[in-house]
């Protein structure tokens, strides 16, 4: 009956304390300069917060494997959507292109 997992209230209180602390942390960190790492840190903290909510408040830690599989699939396809779309934009001005086609420099085939 692991499905009927009743968690002690203490766990909820611990989690909310961590979540609030992380919220303060993410605001504080935003004002420090880490270059491009600022984005990584901000998203990283958000991911940790989301995982805490998912695992404890939403009981995913104690859910059936199939439920966890679906939750994971959601995250994976979310990333796929964004990553592949972005890959187009990041590679649009890649240089150099391959050499132009050699035939272009040949004599015209006919008149």
């Amino acid at each position: 009956m692991s499905e009927h997992h009743v968690m002690p209230i203490r766990v909820y209180l611990t989690i909310i304390a961590i979540l609030m602390a992380l919220t303060v942390a993410t605001v504080w960190v935003a004002f420090l300069d880490f270059g491009y790492l600022n984005t990584v840190i901000a998203v990283g903290i958000a991911v940790i917060k989301a995982l805490l909510v998912v695992m404890y408040f939403m009981h995913l830690k104690y859910a059936a494997p199939i439920t966890r599989l679906f939750a994971g699939a959601g995250a994976v396809f979310f990333v796929i959507l964004i990553a592949i779309t972005l890959s187009d934009y990041r590679s649009r001005d890649w240089f150099p292109f391959p050499e132009p086609w050699e035939q272009a420099h040949e004599a015209p085939a006919s008149h």
Partner: protein
């Protein structure tokens, strides 16, 4: 014009025969596999048709060797196709450096074209045979697509950006030109002809109009605009100039105020004219006025042509 019952339509560019070679290979594959599949189901249908006294069929063996073999064979075949197709595609992606540049503006529902010497035309493109031609294209409204079937080339034309298409005609003649991206009510009327002429005929055609009225080339028009808009007051070679000197800029790396580098291509020039502050060149203050809404797409193309000519990039 070849009959539509020929397997291949007219080939009139250097790339056409390469595309057609892949096409014929694909047709061969398709015919073989279709006949194979159809042949097998028909033969099996006849040979193993149900007979009242026939034996009960056996359960098939769970054996994946056939599937594996078929998969491996297909993998090789498809990789060959992928590689061949990608090779021809990439070979044809970047225009040769000596290509003659023609400016194209698409709008609902016409193609506006301008030649290096300034001659303009609508929906008919005159080009010389045997010379690489590059189209620099943009749209005034929605997405269009520039398609010449006899050349086997096609490229979408977008608002707010430049796309390129190049080809080298191999035969004189008239070929169809279509818009292939659905662009509204009269989409099917947006097209015309490509007239491929001998080099001499093309020269004659080009100068045909110049003899009458004075004809500005895009570079000349760009230069006139450059003066009219007062660009040279800042963009000059003087030591205290407020803007960067534009000679030799096009096609080269530019260092920006934020430390990054960009290559000064058409997109960059476009952005820097419409919205100068977005990618400011290192060492200059953001003082240039915004030209968005002040000049139109045609003028923008001419200005860029002029700036390119300052680098000897134009012809």
């Amino acid at each position: 014009m070849k009959s539509v019952f020929n397997i291949l339509p007219e080939q009139a560019s250097t790339v056409a025969s390469h595309v057609d070679a892949i096409y014929l290979f694909l047709i061969a594959i398709s015919v073989v596999f279709t006949l194979l599949a159809a042949g097998l189901v028909i033969v099996f249908g006849v040979k193993f048709r149900r007979r009242p006294d026939g034996p009960a069929p056996e359960k098939p063996h769970e054996d994946s060797r056939l599937e594996m073999a078929a998969g491996a064979f297909l993998l090789v075949l498809l990789l060959v196709l992928f590689g061949w197709g990608a090779k021809v595609y990439f070979q044809n992606t970047r225009p040769p450096a000596d290509a003659m540049e023609i400016l194209v503006t698409g709008k609902q529902w016409m193609w506006k074209l301008q030649h290096p010497n300034g001659r303009r035309e609508i929906n008919t493109l005159h080009i010389p045979v045997g010379k690489p031609v590059q189209l620099t294209m943009t749209s005034e409204d929605v997405i269009h697509s520039f398609f010449i079937p006899a050349f086997r080339v096609k490229q979408d034309v977008l608002p707010g950006r430049y796309t390129r298409l190049w080809f080298q005609a191999t035969k004189t003649g008239r070929y169809r030109l279509f818009c292939t991206e659905y662009c509204g009510t009269e989409h099917s009327m947006m097209g015309g002809w490509v007239n491929v002429m001998t080099a001499a005929d093309y020269e004659r055609w080009l100068s045909g109009e110049v003899a009458g009225a004075a004809q500005e080339t895009p570079v000349q028009a760009g230069e006139r605009l450059f003066t009219q808009l007062g660009c040279q007051t800042c963009h000059n070679a003087g030591s205290g100039a407020l803007g960067p000197n534009l000679a030799g800029v096009f096609g080269h790396t530019v260092k920006l105020a934020d430390g990054s580098e960009v290559i000064a291509d058409e997109e960059y020039l476009r952005e820097s004219i419409l919205n100068p502050h977005a990618k400011l060149v290192a060492g200059f203050a953001p003082v240039m006025p915004v030209f968005k809404g002040i000049i139109n797409e045609d003028q923008l193309l001419q200005l860029i042509a002029y700036i390119k000519s300052l680098s000897g990039a134009s012809n």
